[in-house]
Symmetry: C2
Subunit: 321 residues, 2 copies
């Protein structure tokens, strides 16, 4: 599909998504901290999706995509291949609607992720840990079951769901100067930019990405979608690359992507844990790190930060080496 | 002083304290979690004083004690000997009123605590790490400066301030069946019991204490104040023993003290981190552990838990051995 033919969401699509999901999701709090503001040199408003169900914003998009299925589609369930937060979110959202969720996971996925998906009622099929095996296994089960494939981010309804985090943020804090969100596959940033730029065109929307996984930054710069090739970053939610849909939206709406070092991610994550007493995952620390590394850009501004999630391996924290 | 002569606070004293401090403190959120409720077998309402200023409920009592000083007293400042949250709280509360806080700390106090107190503007005097040295140093500086000594818990105004956490909790959740708080020196539990029993006499008020530091449990049982002798517990906020004042209040109002194992404290702390994505210190996990170890007592009840604080050494978490 040529990129200009892609249908992108408007802020109205995200408002409709919110109306559909609002009784199914947590309306997460917005946290502020005097000491964090003093460290960052700006007024930061953290939209805490670490307090969302399954511990991540992904529950918004998964819930929205599932609620949009018509009854005939829904009864066959949904399917995805993922080992991350999207799989857990899809499993829980499906169980809330009372339909099956088929999750294809690589057999070497961490035990904790297998348990999470199973705990939310997902029907897991393990496969060899290659992209090809994942896709083949998914297609086979999809054919057997008639389940609808829900891509983690290259999906209009998923993106509209993710955008509802910024809708809640802006409703409480309509006078923000900047909104910043992490970017991996681009679902969260796409939803955020679609809503904020559509409804509050004067607000600047920025993405934040690890330097070690800067495919989105390069894709936007060079007007082509680069794949994310074996990125080495602790921000394990940001390993994927943009899709045609997320590229189109971000290219249209986003004011820029800032890239940050691994050390800055670790420092920002620890700073938020220490000062705010909330558990955020490394991916969520990426926009905080971007503020720390670009202090002038944010100086004295009112900055909304989408905190994407709080799923962390507590046995091994990044500052413990 | 004979114990029967001790003046104990009523719920009205705590309401007055709240009126005095309400514009100076954080009104901390009350957190709930489906998955925590399912694990605990009850409806738990966590009053999150880990989000209080300085990361602990101690800021309430310190602020109240300082605001109660008349101008003549206030200008000479306040003094305490402590290496914990009370010292940080007193330093910040004093700086908010623009008066000096003299903090006597043992010279071997952890670097992070020294930094915290200094960061809040406390004037630190180091002394050898014995109780006698601490008291002598404190008395000497008190004489030199005319500062008012603010005990961390054997102080009427401090206790009234601590009780305001349960006031906020009950105002939002007036239908609780049980309120449970950790007990060390007893300031938090005294304030909690004074307010809740005075205003909502049908609500059960419980204390929770490490088995390895069960002096309050034994003191209540035997009607005598036992000192806390070198307790070995990870709940480092609960090492002190009851005072005549806190003993009197707890003896009058409290429905019981539950003691918990070290392993249960660790398990409860990790469970809250994982499920709720909030950082609570070991002392705060003690009442959660008490619910886990006494499931029948709490089954299907509506339980308020005072989460005392969130100051944790992130380099060394208890489940990491």
């Amino acid at each position: 599909m040529a990129m200009q033919d892609i249908t992108v969401p408007s802020h109205l699509d995200i408002e409709n998504a919110f109306n559909l999901i609002e009784n199914h999701i947590n309306h997460t709090p917005i946290f502020t901290s005097r000491s964090v503001n003093s460290i960052l040199g700006c007024s930061a408003y953290l939209k805490c999706e670490n307090f969302q169900r399954v511990g991540a914003f992904k529950f918004r998009g998964a819930t929205h995509a599932i609620l949009r299925l018509n009854p005939a589609e829904a009864k066959h369930g949904v399917i995805t291949h993922s080992s991350g937060n999207h799989a857990a979110a899809l499993a829980l959202a499906a169980s809330q609607r009372g339909i099956p969720a088929y999750i294809v996971m690589p057999e070497n996925a961490p035990e904790i992720k297998k348990k999470a998906v199973a705990g939310y009622g997902g029907i897991i099929t393990f496969c060899p840990p290659t992209q090809n095996d994942r896709e083949q296994t998914m297609l086979r089960i999809k054919e057997q079951t008639g389940a609808t494939f829900i891509h983690p981010y290259d999906n209009f309804n998923v993106i509209c769901g993710q955008g509802t985090a910024s809708l809640e943020l802006m409703q409480h804090e309509p006078n923000l100067d900047i909104v910043i969100a992490p970017v991996g596959g681009g679902g969260l940033l796409s939803g955020t930019a679609s809503y904020v730029k559509g409804r509050y065109p004067k607000v600047k929307v920025l993405g934040a990405e690890p330097k070690n996984a800067d495919d989105a930054y390069r894709s936007l710069r060079d007007h082509t979608i680069y794949p994310s090739v074996k990125p080495q970053t602790i921000a394990d939610g940001l390993l994927t690359s943009l899709s045609p849909l997320t590229y189109s939206i971000i290219n249209r709406h986003c004011d820029g992507i800032l890239t940050v070092s691994e050390q800055a991610i670790i420092d920002a994550m620890r700073m938020v844990w220490e000062r705010m007493k909330i558990i955020i995952e490394p991916s969520s620390a990426v926009p905080v790190a971007a503020i720390m590394e670009n202090a002038k850009l944010f100086h004295n501004k009112r900055v909304g930060i989408i905190i994407s999630g709080g799923n962390v391996d507590l046995n091994h924290l990044p500052w413990q080496g």
